[in-house]
């Protein structure tokens, strides 16, 4: 019931007015921005918060006694509380500001170096982004632990029976993305978390692609670590968050040494600050942190239920239109997926199509999407990826389809 009510109020034309960049022309054509899985666009409301910060209360935080520093500190910490509330974390000190998803993953991987030993096993999914593969490979090199891969099927879904078979008493960590960036598959993380916990393994979920489309409840999921980036959720680049259960964040050693993260320093010994500051060495991205909170406010005002419903309409409309094109091959046909479509047409190279689409003002991503193992599975060099956000429209999809047909004609 609630869903319908929110969607009735959802008006894409009003929403589009919030995004100044959508008025741009590229190569003389109105911009059609379908590279949202790489980065989302920023609404005026968030831009205003950034301008206000630098115009009115830019200061270093936490230690200053002067008014500006206190204002900046208050805004930064309020933002942490907004993030806590959004993800339903039990405590605000379980929210660590990071520079983004990659930073969060590296922080956890680095922390686990002192907790793992030879014979331990780490599971990652076959659907991972390179940033959720490489840090674990490095961790395995440091500790002697072994990295094992949960395989996927042709549709781009994880094979859960294989996951069950891989789990054992030596499994210490499981890493999986909530949603695949290359294919859009929504992974059954509830199942994965429950099964992993039965063997005492900790689970880190990469939420970079899920947070723009849904609202994760970290307590309900019972997840140990959850990471994301603000720039995928209408916020600025260079800021993100790591959620960690208090018991894990207390168990992990600090990631970087420096200011902010200490309680007391002598040349003999340093005692570390309490959470969350233990993991936030140096002057943070104050403005980014504040704008991150503003971005969540913006998304929540529209409503994630309405967003998800509208984006599913876009996905199904675009999938239908694309499927009519001769030679079309869509990669990633999971039953549960978000508004991401990865595809190729005949033997045309994705780079050629991406180049021609750009001439017509359409921004898509081409290449391996930093997920080469997935491309290897399908034995392709890459795909064209169109990814939609709630500010995109069916009319834009029509423009994209017409442009794609023209590109195919030119390149065949």
């Amino acid at each position: 019931m609630n869903l319908v009510k929110e969607h009735a109020a959802f008006d894409v034309e009003t929403i589009r007015k919030d995004f100044p960049i959508l008025k741009r022309k590229i190569n003389g054509k109105p911009l059609v921005y379908f590279d949202n899985a790489a980065t989302s666009q920023t609404p005026q409301q968030v831009i205003d918060v950034i301008v206000d910060y630098y115009s009115n209360y830019n200061a270093n935080i936490h230690r200053g006694v002067h008014s500006l520093s206190q204002e900046a500190t208050d805004a930064y910490e309020q933002s942490r509380q907004k993030i806590q509330k959004h993800f339903n974390a039990a405590h605000s000190h379980e929210i660590i500001f990071t520079s983004g998803t990659t930073h969060g993953i590296n922080l956890v991987a680095s922390g686990f170096s002192s907790l793992l030993k030879v014979g331990d096993e780490i599971l990652v999914s076959a659907l991972e982004h390179h940033s959720n593969i490489v840090p674990w490979q490095m961790l395995c090199e440091r500790t002697g632990a072994e990295l094992k891969v949960i395989p996927m099927n042709e549709a781009g879904e994880l094979i859960l029976s294989e996951f069950d078979a891989l789990l054992n008493e030596n499994t210490k960590l499981v890493f999986v993305n909530h949603i695949s960036n290359a294919l859009g598959t929504i992974n059954p993380i509830e199942y994965i978390i429950e099964k992993a916990h039965a063997y005492g393994a900790a689970v880190l979920v990469d939420g970079a692609q899920s947070c723009p489309h849904l609202k994760p409840d970290v307590q309900k999921l019972n997840v140990d670590f959850y990471v994301c980036s603000a720039h995928k959720i209408c916020g600025p680049t260079g800021i993100g968050m790591l959620y960690g259960k208090e018991k894990w964040l207390k168990a992990l050693p600090p990631y970087q040494g420096g200011g902010e993260m200490i309680a007391e320093v002598t040349f003999e010994k340093t005692s570390y600050a309490d959470l969350p500051h233990k993991f936030e060495a140096g002057t943070p991205n104050v403005c980014g942190g504040i704008a991150f909170g503003a971005a969540l406010d913006y998304m929540n005002a529209i409503g994630f239920n309405a967003i998800a419903k509208y984006e599913q309409e876009l996905l199904s409309y675009a999938t239908g239109k694309l499927s009519e094109i001769e030679g079309m091959k869509i990669y990633g046909t999971a039953k549960e997926k978000t508004s991401v479509i990865s595809f190729n047409v005949g033997n045309i190279h994705p780079y050629d199509i991406g180049t021609i689409l750009d001439k017509m003002g359409i921004a898509v991503r081409t290449g391996h999407h930093c997920a080469q193992p997935i491309m290897d599975y399908y034995q392709i060099p890459g795909t064209i990826r169109a990814s939609f956000m709630f500010y995109n429209t069916k009319e834009e999809i029509d423009v994209f389809i017409a442009a794609l047909k023209k590109a195919i004609m030119m390149l065949s």
Partner: protein, 140 residues
């Protein structure tokens, strides 16, 4: 013909087009005239490194002139490398090393110079010039 003469011809050809469609269509057609690399040279060490499309280049020297052959798995890239080879092939290594490549801007392909285009023109030009430098060293 000197490198400058060839560049001038290319600029003249591209100046006939007043829209991007015709320009790209012409480039795609030029790709079809590319002197193709012998398949035995389509190996890892002939690839110009990049993350989008693959480009293989091979060079030979005959009568103090460098001759290039190439291929790519993307059609537009094939067109781009065909233009470069038309400019640089059958030239003395010294002329290739000293050649200026401002003509790219004049034929409306400036966007391919962007550093985000892995496999862009920059690395192709660099690779062709590297071959020329190697052959120039032999001549010295």
């Amino acid at each position: 013909m000197t490198i400058e003469d060839v560049q001038k011809d290319i600029i003249d050809e591209f100046s006939m087009f007043d829209n991007w469609e015709d320009r790209y269509q012409y480039m795609i057609d030029l790709g079809k005239s590319l002197p193709l690399i012998d398949p035995k040279f389509k190996t890892e060490d002939h690839i110009i490194k990049g993350c989008q499309s693959k480009v293989w280049v091979h060079a030979d020297m005959d009568d103090d002139k460098v001759k290039f052959t190439a291929d790519s798995d993307a059609i537009i890239t094939k067109g781009i490398i065909a233009i470069l080879i038309r400019v640089f092939s059958n030239q003395h290594p010294k002329a290739i090393i000293e050649a200026n490549t401002d003509f790219i801007d004049q034929i409306g392909l400036k966007e391919h110079l962007s550093p985000t285009r892995a496999n862009g023109l920059v690395s192709m030009i660099k690779q062709l010039k590297m071959y020329a430098i190697a052959y120039q060293t032999q001549l010295n």
